[in-house]
């Protein structure tokens, strides 16, 4: 290519760079090997030419003077900030030697492999960990509380996850004749246009609003959606579960549910033993019966009838199951026991949440709850789209059950414009989302037996193949049941972003024998490593993406210095750790992953993206009726009963409450009235900025200019009572610590809550300890504890803490300015 000549490479965004969960098609303009411009790809069905601020700033990111460009070896003490550049060969040799030594002395499980949210490295960090032999892949957030708990909870009762239908399955999108625009979308705790999380392009919802969709916004904060919503439910943070139960209460009491769906597609008719609070099984009735089969009350014969969970049919012909009622059955032992239907138990449970009580819990007026529930139930189709606040509470699973019951009961599951079952395009699993089957697997069950938390938490053995983060942190200190000696941290920043109680993470990292950080820039976390490896943006790699639909290729447009794509780094080390590592090249690995799509990786690259055809399990709609969801191709769902489980047999097996309900979170005005006197404001965190992805991008000039300081939003009345003026620095404090924020006096928050932004550190400040890029000044995670995960190991209280706020003195406020 001639000097100054421009080539334009078509590729797909994901992770490093914009930081996000990806999916946008872009055109990268390259001149003399440098990125000179990036634009949205107008032909791409995902974003249709649009592009966010973070991606549009890629020229400042890719060629940033502070990019890590060569491997670094620590030469001083940990955290001293003294580094020596080394070659890749030296770095690989050093890492191989040190990690093999740990493996020999303590076993492979003694090394933790840690990652952040929704990264393209999901499969590749698993590939490395599994080649090394460690089952301990960790998502570094307390309670694994981002997205995978929602997926696990929905899978528990539905067998498949589902998301808002914005016609993302079809090349023609909204114009596809199969599609219907939702009449109503419930936006549950989400400011989605700012961050495009969970593999949904946030502005699709704006596209739909222009096409007539009306919004119910559930949010304590006045978001953009709230201003444009038909109904706003301004709930107290953490009470989502109660609100959902209130919706169910209205919908059931007013008969607004789809009774035909409930009868045919849920386990509503299955019987529960009232004596043992357990589902009645065939094995209870006859000694030769199967414990996998369930029982209904047949209204025709006036006797129990067996639901065969393998055949997905009744064992006798002509059964008419009773939906309601209390009955008595004779067990194999001869004893007579009272039973009731799941539906009766479910309605009784829902009956415990009358709107008046729900209003008292949630602080939402009764009238608003009733009107919103009616509007949702009466709109056909209607969709619910939820955000990470659902995960960020210890009782995440019962909350998800309540919300998922809403779309099932209203007949909005897998219908056009509803909540549509989301599968990987062509069932090609590139992204090793927790629990998915794929090409990259741990070698043996035995190797998995030491995964931290798997012995304690059911979901970790069925849906989420990760170590439980809170237990990992504890185990680093206790060394029980086995010592933790090393950590591989890849594009993940627990000290500044994903880690709660971040000082504890620093202490933990310092206890380890060997720490590797792989990142694009030095971070507070990388400063505590022994070796730092420079990785690459999405523009510098060949990759692929099959996170739902479509299947997409990421096409290498350029290279930067000696930076290496994560997949190449991990591939090289995996080969060194595993004598049986079976791939010769990365493209060969990609070929195998996308084999179900019937094309090679090169062919996918030439296309850019591919949509699975009509009739494929990864293409909607009505798949449970067509038998497209289960391996046996029988109509139904991939649950133990083959039906949506309003009463979860899996939760019962785990010894957890099988039905939806509400639990008050641990640090609220209600659960901590004494603390609330001292800390009279609800502290919510994590409001998204459209120019940052979590702890990233503070060093990108175009982006930092837009959002220059760590901000806390305070209502004008609250600020006035505290003597705080707009733009003044304040301390935010609770029993765990304090940090500094710039007050933004705004009506978008209620008087009783403040909203602090998260992920703040200052790349312009000194990297060595004690500063660590000023991470202790404004990292709000210092005010949030670890180890408050839910009963199933999932969820953590991040959106509803307590605090007090007071003005910083003039000498203190210069720090961040």
């Amino acid at each position: 290519m001639k000097r100054g000549e421009r080539k334009i490479i078509r590729t797909t965004t994901w992770s490093a760079g914009p930081g996000c969960h990806g999916g946008c098609g872009v055109l990268a303009h390259i001149e003399d090997g440098r990125l000179v411009k990036i634009e949205g790809d107008p032909e791409h069905p995902w974003n249709q030419g649009r592009l966010c601020a973070r991606c549009l700033a890629m020229t400042q990111y890719v060629h940033h003077p502070d990019r890590l460009t060569r491997p670094l070896k620590r030469v001083g003490e940990r955290g001293e900030g003294r580094w020596q550049e080394i070659s890749w060969d030296e770095a690989f040799d050093l890492i191989e030697k040190r990690l093999k030594k740990i493996r020999e002395e303590f076993g492979p499980e003694s090394v933790i492999f840690s990652m952040g949210t929704g990264r393209d490295i999901g499969p590749w960090i698993c590939m490395l960990a599994y080649a090394y032999g460690s089952p301990n892949v960790m998502f570094a957030l307390s309670g694994i509380a981002c997205y995978s708990p929602r997926i696990a909870a929905v899978d528990t009762i539905q067998g498949d996850y589902c998301i808002l239908d914005a016609a993302q399955w079809f090349p023609k999108r909204y114009d596809d004749p199969r599609y219907k625009v939702p009449k109503c979308i419930v936006i549950w705790g989400y400011n989605i246009p700012a961050s495009c999380p969970d593999n949904v392009f946030g502005h699709w919802i704006i596209d739909l609003m222009k096409r007539g969709t009306e919004i119910i916004a559930i949010d304590p904060r006045l978001s953009w959606f709230v201003s444009r919503a038909k109904k706003w439910l301004q709930l107290r943070p953490g009470t989502d579960g109660a609100l959902a139960m209130g919706f169910l209460n209205v919908i059931i009491n007013e008969g607004l549910y789809d009774r035909a769906f409930v009868e045919k597609w849920t386990n509503a008719a299955h019987l529960i033993r009232s004596d043992a609070a357990k589902l009645l099984r065939e094995s209870d009735l006859v000694d030769s019966g199967s414990a996998s089969n369930f029982v209904v009350w047949d209204m025709v014969r006036g006797a129990p009838a067996v639901w065969d969970a393998t055949e997905l049919d009744y064992k006798q012909a002509g059964v008419k199951p009773a939906l309601e009622g209390d009955y008595e059955v004779r067990l194999a032992s001869g004893a007579k026991v009272p039973v009731k239907t799941v539906w009766s138990a479910f309605c009784q449970q829902v009956g415990e949440y009358p709107v008046k009580r729900v209003s008292e819990i949630t602080w939402v007026p009764e009238k608003d709850i009733v009107e919103a529930a009616r509007f949702y139930a009466e709109s056909k189709p209607a969709a619910i789209h939820w955000g990470v606040p659902i995960d960020m509470t210890p009782a995440i699973t019962p909350t998800v059950q309540a919300i998922a019951n809403l779309w099932c009961l209203t007949g909005n599951l897998d219908v056009p414009g509803g909540n549509v079952i989301s599968r990987y395009a062509f069932d090609a699993v590139a992204y090793a989302l927790p629990g998915t089957k794929g090409v990259i697997k741990l070698k043996s069950k035995e190797a998995d037996s030491k995964r931290i938390g798997a012995d304690r938490y059911g979901p970790l053995n069925r849906f989420i193949w990760r170590a439980q983060t809170d237990l990992v942190l504890e185990q680093i200190f206790t060394g029980k049941p086995y010592p933790i000696k090393g950590m591989w941290i890849q594009t993940c920043n627990p000290v500044a972003g994903i880690g709660l109680d971040p000082k504890k993470w620093v202490e933990a990292l310092k206890k380890l024998d060997f720490v590797v950080a792989v990142d694009l820039f030095m971070t507070p976390t990388a400063q505590l490593a022994d070796v730092v490896l420079p990785s690459a943006t999405f523009l510098e790699k060949d990759g692929l993406r099959s996170w739902w639909v479509p299947l997409q290729s990421i096409n290498k447009a350029m290279t930067v210095a000696e930076c290496k794509p994560d997949v190449e780094i991990n591939f090289e080390l995996a080969r060194r750790f595993d004598p049986d590592f079976r791939w010769q090249s990365i493209h060969e690995l990609y070929d195998e992953i996308i084999k179900p799509a019937g094309m090679t990786y090169k062919e996918l690259q030439a296309k850019g993206w591919a949509f699975p055809p009509e009739g494929h399990p990864s293409t909607p709609y009505h798949r449970f009726e067509k038998g497209l969801l289960r391996p046996d191709r029988k109509p139904g769902f991939q649950t133990p009963s083959g039906r949506i489980e309003l009463y979860s047999s899996i939760r019962e097996e785990w010894g957890l409450e099988p039905m939806a309900h509400y639990e008050e979170p641990p640090f609220t005005p209600v659960s901590q009235p004494e603390l609330y006197k001292k800390y009279p404001l609800i502290l919510s965190t994590g409001r998204r900025s459209p120019v940052y992805f979590h702890a990233e991008h503070r060093n990108i000039p175009w982006l930092r200019e837009i959002d220059p300081d760590p901000v806390i939003e305070i209502h004008p009345d609250t600020a006035k009572s505290l003597g705080i003026g707009d733009g003044e620095w304040v301390w935010v404090e609770n029993w765990l610590g304090r940090c500094k924020f710039k007050a933004k006096i705004t009506l978008v928050v209620p008087t009783w809550m403040v909203m602090a932004t998260h992920g703040w550190w200052f790349p312009e400040k000194p990297g060595a300890e004690p500063s660590l890029y000023g991470v202790w000044e404004s990292n709000v995670n210092q005010l949030i504890p670890m180890s408050f995960q839910g009963k199933d190991g999932l969820g953590a209280p991040m959106k509803h803490l307590l605090c007090q706020v007071y003005k910083a003195s003039s000498s203190e406020e210069t720090g961040n300015a």
Partner: protein, 114 residues
Amino acid sequence: MPKQPQYGLLIDYEYCTGCYACQVACAQEYKWPAGMAGMRVMEVVQKLPHDKAYLTYLPFPTELCVLCASRTSKGLQPACVQHCMAACMKYGRIEELAREMGKKPRMVLWVPRS
């Protein structure tokens, strides 16, 4: 006599979400350093009766806006218009945009310096 303007930008501020794509798209297109751009996004939180409020974002073309003549002459949209995540900006002849304005409320027509 000053040149009569012919083109403008129609903003449907009902749908502007404050994503700042327009501002960064402009900075990229013209390689402006941070602090300079042909487009700025303003946030307006207006108090309403009964303890309510309304949040609006409004993109405003600054003295640096040249309406992307170099792009439009090639048949491309201005950088801000193409990348607008909410697709709430439209470039065109002033008369046509003025007619468009009559179709729904919460619109503003800018005729930048260009």
